[in-house]
Symmetry: C2
């Protein structure tokens, strides 16, 4: 009798408030996953990477949903994650580099040879006005929360510096936080190492918080987060609340450690040992995706659950990988930290039951801040107020296949910072993508790179000189945007000259 009453209540709520009006939303967010780190091809050709990596569940999600081949993020973690949570472009939110220590510039910035970097929002995002050097904004999960959603954070947060409210997802609109804090990497993926919570790492920011019931067990972090995410979703279903799950894996970020469930296969292939462990990290994350998709089917919520798959920046290629640097995202140039496609183009998939056409695909481009209005639109939250000015544009209307053709919307990136490692496209820069073209402006030497991304996906031929008019026009548009948002610029240490916006450089 009690169950029947519960069922009736559920049906009653469903019929009137509309479960489909408040679908469950799962944002499956992978860390540092490159565009080629999958057996699902995102390029027009199948690459050796697609043949090496094993991601059957990404293939399954692509079969059941829609594939985006030109989805962009920023080249590093925190700027992407803050853009995701605030809907703001990095030039506006000013969390332009990765965050960790409160009120502190990055050491590779203070020690830079030629440039002096502007004080950026080193403290990340803040829900309190009186936290300084942080972007004060309304995170979209708090809007979902207000609208009745259970908002679940699982895994890596990396939204705010240690000792600020933004380090805790519970202060950013999440009802539940599992294992998220200020740090952007786990000290260890291994349960037998307590995910880094061992005496020798005490006092460092990297041990993963919580999860103590798994300490000492022979279990990989990726699996633990999946189990905990499933528990949290189950709780929402019990509470009969629609849920938003931010399934934010620490994988496949460094430290590249062996997931024992999958690594032997790659060792057996004769792969470089680091690359084998990396491939296993990927497969573990893919298994998590499969488990979550299975859960959704088993609980019979498949029709009212949206699944979005995305990564936060390009695959690592400059350091800590096996093989030749900057070959890991081919045909894309470079990798994480770079403004070349290898640093910013992400594997993205969306399954929106009743909306997306199974197996569909688009090469229309979008950028990470677009997720903010899109997710809110999916949740039926359309009438909302935010502290911040939102740059993102919703792509919800594209999901039925009605995608734009030739796009003339400009996308912008701004990184007046230093990341540390070197490589193609890496360094303080500002960038515009428009139509098939991408223009990168390097702050240190005032150099421009212009690529036709459609014809030259590998960014091998700089056409800045040949296409001078186009360079000039794109530099103008980029400069005007940076000026509009009062984007911060570095200055040259020796001369004291401020780096001009790109439209002020003679071309």
């Amino acid at each position: 009798m009690r169950y029947l009453l519960t069922l009736c209540t559920y049906l009653f709520i469903w019929s009137f408030s509309g479960a489909q009006e408040q679908p469950n939303i799962i944002l499956f967010f992978v860390d540092d996953l490159g565009w080629q780190d999958t057996s699902e091809p995102f390029w027009t050709k199948t690459t050796s990477f697609n043949k090496t990596y094993r991601t059957p569940n990404m293939e399954r999600l692509a079969d059941e949903g829609m594939k985006f081949t030109q989805a962009y993020a920023t080249p590093v973690c925190s700027p992407t994650r803050v853009s995701l949570l605030t809907g703001m472009n990095a030039a506006r939110h000013r969390v332009t580099n990765w965050t960790l220590h409160k009120d502190k510039m990055q050491p590779m910035e203070t020690g830079h040879q030629t440039l002096s970097f502007p004080p950026w929002n080193v403290n990340g995002i803040t829900p309190d006005f009186d936290i300084d050097h942080a972007v004060y904004a309304t995170p979209f999960p708090s809007l979902l929360q207000e609208d009745g959603y259970e908002t679940i954070h699982v895994g890596k947060a990396h939204f705010g510096a240690i000792g600020t409210p933004g380090e805790n997802p519970l202060n950013l609109g999440f009802d539940v936080n599992i294992a998220g804090h200020a740090a952007g990497a786990p000290k260890s993926y291994l349960g037998v190492q307590n995910f880094g919570n061992i005496p020798e790492f005490e006092g460092t920011p990297w041990p993963v918080p919580g999860l103590s019931s798994y300490h000492g067990q022979d279990i990989f972090l990726t699996e633990v987060l999946t189990l905990e995410a499933i528990k949290a979703m189950d709780h929402s279903l019990e509470e009969e609340k629609p849920f938003f799950l931010y399934m934010s894996h620490y994988g496949v970020h460094t430290p590249i450690m062996p997931d024992s469930r999958f690594v032997q296969h790659y060792y057996d292939m004769g792969m470089d040992s680091t690359e084998a462990m990396y491939a296993a990290l990927i497969e573990g994350v893919d298994k998590s995706l499969g488990d979550i998709m299975d859960f959704v089917v088993e609980r019979e919520i498949e029709e009212e659950t949206i699944i979005i798959f995305m990564s936060d920046n390009g695959g690592l290629s400059a350091v800590a990988r096996g093989g030749t640097p900057h070959t890991h995202n081919k045909p894309l140039s470079s990798g994480k930290g770079s403004m070349h496609e290898g640093g910013i183009r992400e594997p993205m998939l969306v399954k929106y039951p009743g909306v997306t056409v199974p197996g569909s695909e688009t090469d229309a481009y979008l950028i990470i801040e677009d997720f903010y209005p899109t997710i809110l639109e999916m949740a039926g939250v359309t009438d909302y107020e935010t502290i911040q000015m939102v740059d993102g544009e919703s792509f919800a209307s594209w999901l039925d296949g009605n995608t734009p053709g030739m796009q003339d919307r400009p996308l912008y990136w701004h990184y007046p910072n230093d990341w540390g490692p070197t490589g193609p496209g890496i360094g303080a820069s500002s960038t515009i993508r428009k139509g098939d073209w991408k223009l990168i402006y390097y702050h240190d030497d005032g150099r421009f790179e212009l690529f036709n991304i459609e014809d030259d996906i590998g960014e091998t031929t700089n056409e800045a000189l040949e296409e001078q008019d186009r360079t000039r026009a794109m530099a103008t548009e980029l400069g005007q945007y940076l000026r509009e948002v009062r984007a911060q610029m570095p200055y040259h240490k020796e001369s004291g000259l401020l780096v001009p916006y790109p439209d002020k450089v003679k071309i």
Copy 2:
């Protein structure tokens, strides 16, 4: 007949549109004039400086108008001048140091030992949105201009960097510009040196522009500017337009050079030669004030002409003066460049015929940005729109003697920069004055100084520790204001730690 018609027209305009509704306004602005650089006492006691310097025309203006004993500016030129023209506090307009070269930080900033300074608005004020590193604002002269005033700029401008529109007063709402440009000092005061326009100074920014008809003559710059100002006022009277004269003397800024009309008297007193030349510079400026007051009387426009006397920062005391450094503004501590009273307290006089009571005086405090709404109110311009947020508050209602008693309005200063010379109160800092108290927060070492200005005008006793609760309360108010306007802060070069706002410092 023609003259009669002109007279009738004049009377007609005067009777209907009201000449008193559009009084002439003369802002007599002296450069680097200290609070004691006058024979008119601004303190409760007459000092040896008052007995040494000869400024009979300041005495005359004080007798005919109202004396302000606690009028404040910022410690350096450009921040004051930009606050004057925009009505914004320096923390908001971010022209926090003195301007000269386009897009260029000051060398003493880039070469600083311990602090890295934020990119401030090195280009000064701009009337065009697309000038970067500059504050985009509506200068009050342009509002006067729109309201029918002839707006006359004579002398030192120092509003914008070389090569930007802000370097030219004609782009900032002035109809006439005599001798104003980007530089903040004259290469020479002497006509026989063409005011610096001689081959050996070619290519430097310091030669005074225009004034070529005086080149080669034995005439001092102060006198030339006065003659030209009188010509310009005469022109306005001929045109039958109310005028705003910004009589902005280069004197008494360095180079300290001998005004031959006055210097012998001081030499004869046995003064240090630099101090004798300085005293003569002052007397020359005072003579200019007298000539302008005489002109106003002669032309019978005394009753419809407001005269405001002010200086842009404290008297120089750190370098280039004779005698012991930092003794030149006694009883005030320190001088130009300092947050002690010697750097910011100015001799101020206002004569508003029919409003100010002759010989009246007030110790109510005000700050340079208050001139913006006050001058507009005096001109009857009350319904206006500005690009910027105006911080200043009008003191027009005080002028009939209805001045505030105990004030609880906070005044703010913000200088996240380096000026070069050293001395008491000199260095990157933020400051609040409230009631009798002033709290200074030094960025480099996080030190506080709290002074009771009423009891201890010489700022000899730091009460920050004794008055801990007051220090904390004032630090809170200061921090909140800086946060509200998103004031820029430096960071420590070695640690990368951003200097916190004062309310975040443990007291």
